[in-house]
Symmetry: C2
Subunit: 297 residues, 2 copies
Amino acid sequence: MKHLHTFALIEAVARSGSMRKAAEDMNLTASALNRRIRGFEAEFGSPIFERIPGGVRLNPAGEMLLHHYRMSKSDLARVQSHVADLTGERRGHVRIACSQALLPYFLPEQIARYRAAHPGVTFTVTVRDRAQAEQELASYASDLALVFEPVYLVDFEVLHLIPQRVHAVLRKDHPLAAKPELRLWECLDSPSVAPNAKYGVRHLLDFAARKLGRTLNPVLETESFELIRHYVLHEQAIGFQIPIGLRAPDDGSLVFRPLAERDVATGSLILGQLRGRTLPVASARFAMQLAAALHED
Amino acid sequence: MKHLHTFALIEAVARSGSMRKAAEDMNLTASALNRRIRGFEAEFGSPIFERIPGGVRLNPAGEMLLHHYRMSKSDLARVQSHVADLTGERRGHVRIACSQALLPYFLPEQIARYRAAHPGVTFTVTVRDRAQAEQELASYASDLALVFEPVYLVDFEVLHLIPQRVHAVLRKDHPLAAKPELRLWECLDSPSVAPNAKYGVRHLLDFAARKLGRTLNPVLETESFELIRHYVLHEQAIGFQIPIGLRAPDDGSLVFRPLAERDVATGSLILGQLRGRTLPVASARFAMQLAAALHED
DNA sequence: CTGCCCGTTGCGAAAAATGCACCGCATCTG
DNA sequence: CAGATGCGGTGCATTTTTCGCAACGGGCAG
């Protein structure tokens, strides 16, 4: 939308902290950009950037204005999506922030399914830890978030919730693989491979271990869930993940065992949006599909 | 704000139902306006006007778009007002829709008081009956509504409420003027002067009369509360109003007597806004002042 | 100091918006 | 029935706005 272009420029300047850099990003000369900003400030009645040596920075007025812009833009997108919906074919774009656990199986299947029914809809998937995911929503950068054990629930509206128990990921010849359910203390005695503290699985494990007066000392700590799954094939160690991101390989080389519920609390995988926001049609429908799919699992 | 000018044009076209008329209103030629509309429709991806013989009319897409514009514009005004507030002196504009009863004494006093403290704030007062007042809020044409006995309470958020009993307005030599409180049946036997059915006072009276199996048959039915007050000076009749719009004249020519509570239900004078909306600073502060003043009465 | 990068400004060129005249069409009118 | 009227829409010259280029002054690091 052309009439919001000045705001888009403002956002670019705010992001890069420099008019010249922003001008380059937006395919403009610095002089033109500068004049647009100054012109807007004059019209708006107050500066929105504070000029600091080495660049510019948003002042409080600018922060509020930028928030207005994001809200306004997102609402316009909603209207457009709604209109496209009632003119017949469904088009639109769905932006979703999610945990890594959804990447290998769940999300690709769901997106493919939705696109099979509505080829006009496109997707953006951003991988974020649970704290970042909520900020994505708050800044209108994503429509939906699908995260395990969100942190701050302010401004976060739960659309659907399913419980997920923490599972151990083991090589099939691991001594503990024989048991149908593992106790936490058993795991603490073996070498472990765990995600870092930003992730919900780790948070639940740390919390549970502290209750036992023990700590989790992983031999490998990483941000990559994929690395965890592959590493346990090479060393006799225990990985930890949630079942939605796990599927037994054909060769049976890996097995998954739940941790006893009385040791480690069951976590929640939560589908949510920004509180009070009305989503574009495509996003709302996709959220409904996700909720239904989660319900089946 | 310049970037919303196209929307303002769209609104003008929607209002007048004709591009040529709207062009005149907005100081443009019809051709320029036409191109802006068509250009916007192309960019938006869908027509927003339906072309009918003799002019144009908004289609559903246009309705939604216009609603977005009004919301967006009002939110920008809120941001601007907020910024002006934090830069020091308070400026802004308060738009209020109210019942006639507030016009003679209450509102002018309150506005003057507020302006004495904040000379930078200006006001628009629109007189609306109780149904129209809520539509004013819904279309973002007013920030606040102060009405007696609102009709539909959806999307209407009550900020403050005070009870108001219906009062009879009598000339001092009226036979009923001697009594401290009047019964409804006494009034029905005298000639009466009443507002029409759009007003809350009349609604309460009609409802009460029906309970008695009687009807109110006013000799003069009008939209003007002022006319009612002045007419009873000329004919020995009973007028009906609420006390906030009444003040005994110095010469004692008029007296006001409440109707018995067991005959006519006590109505509510309600200060409200559009549900969920965050008002500009000036409007929010003025609403607080109004609420406090109502509380004292 | 020198070089560098920053925001900012003057000025001519390019682009966008506007005004004017006019078209085709439907409706109203005598 | 024909002419007049008022509507949305379009081609073209003109005006207004915006942009790109070059240059200026000011902080800052080496």
